[in-house]
Symmetry: C2
Subunit: 212 residues, 2 copies
DNA sequence: GTCTATACAACGATAGAC
DNA sequence: GTCTATCGTTGTATAGAC
């Protein structure tokens, strides 16, 4: 298998005007960034299997072969594109300061606000991609371990931070799955206050409560 | 889209012994049941997209065209096949009698015992199929509403049974997702006692605890 | 002139339809 | 069983930057 070298991290956008030309583009490397943007949209809309390399390339306005040239294939492109639509570390940092015993409320509030405005559909397809692709699962596994453990749980509860973090993960993932993917009522259309009042105590127990 | 007529609901099991014969089978309708059995195995092993009509038909020992004839296509076959590998209603009935305040422990114990012995891989691919296929999501939505609500929650807590049931769903689904699909440590390889001690109080609160 | 990002074409595989 | 569509991928010639 041939693996192309990946040149650099240039992300400047250039115009997509005019007909496609052969050969090297004038201004320089916007192709890689265009592919990343297109991949995020198409993967989010259709999931990993549903998103075709051809469709991504077409949306980016470049040749499908560019996917191989810049990323080495569909799967590496997916992993690269999985820069989540919001920066999880930043969102969590906004929510960390304050009473540790109310941290769960703040996390849930931010969580719901984020995904309800961005449109739950995006989260739903993201979860679908994660569920149907091992590379995404691995990536998310590492994300959970790193961000959730180190940045959050360890600051409020020194004992068993890894177990606490994964338990928090079960509650948050389950909530996302039931509300945005399965869309089970009455949870699917419950307002934020109701959900927070119902779930926050449980999440808070995982964060700072007694554990076996 | 062409939808073939589905003859009847015959589900009698017949032997799969003997080599394939041409023409109409003598005893009559074991083909439909054989296809259902094969479909459950193959869908569980490879997910919806990974399971091919050909593979299912081959395992059932019949012609691929039989899928169209009996079910009208791959998708209807999938929905019909989603009689879960274990009967959820039966499993829940085994667990219902006893102290209502310890119901969560019994549910979790049965849950873990069931999926750890059956092999978590089967649950993982099942969740993947659910996440990546709307028909499965609809089916599961109905299952949660019917079985979980009516059979369980309503018997232990009369107030807001639907909300309680979906909340329980978030915890159980999230646990399954993190443990069997994402496989995040230390939860992925934690023993049953640890998980029960950690999760049961939260699940119990959803069942019988105070709610807003 | 050299390097390389690019476009186009085609391959092998495999799915579902008929 | 055949047929068609479409997938991911690869080879190769070319155009432009350096």
């Amino acid at each position: 298998m041939h693996v192309a070298a990946v040149p650099d991290e240039s992300t400047e956008l250039a115009g997509k005007d005019g007909p496609r030309r052969r050969g090297r583009r004038p201004g320089g490397g916007d192709t890689r960034a265009a592919l990343l943007d297109a991949a995020r949209v198409v993967f989010a809309e259709r999931g990993y299997d549903g998103a075709t390399v051809r469709a991504i390339a077409e949306r980016a306005g470049v040749d499908p072969a560019m996917v191989n040239h810049w990323f080495g294939g569909k799967e590496p492109l997916f992993v690269a594109a999985l820069n989540l639509p919001v920066d999880p570390a930043a969102a969590l940092n906004e929510v960390l300061p304050g009473d540790p015993e109310l941290l769960a409320e703040r996390i849930l509030g931010r969580f719901l606000q984020l995904w309800d405005t961005t449109g739950g559909a995006q989260l739903a397809t993201l979860i679908q991609s994660i569920a149907s692709h091992d590379a995404a699962a691995s990536l998310l596994r590492e994300f959970i371990t790193r961000v959730l453990v180190i940045k959050v749980v360890a600051t409020v509860a020194p004992d068993r931070p890894e177990l606490r973090a994964t338990l928090c993960g079960t509650q948050l993932f389950g909530l996302a799955f039931v509300r945005y993917v399965l869309k089970v009522e009455p949870l699917a259309s419950a307002d934020h206050a109701t959900i927070i009042a119902a779930v926050a105590p449980n999440l808070q127990r995982y964060l700072t409560g007694p554990l076996p």
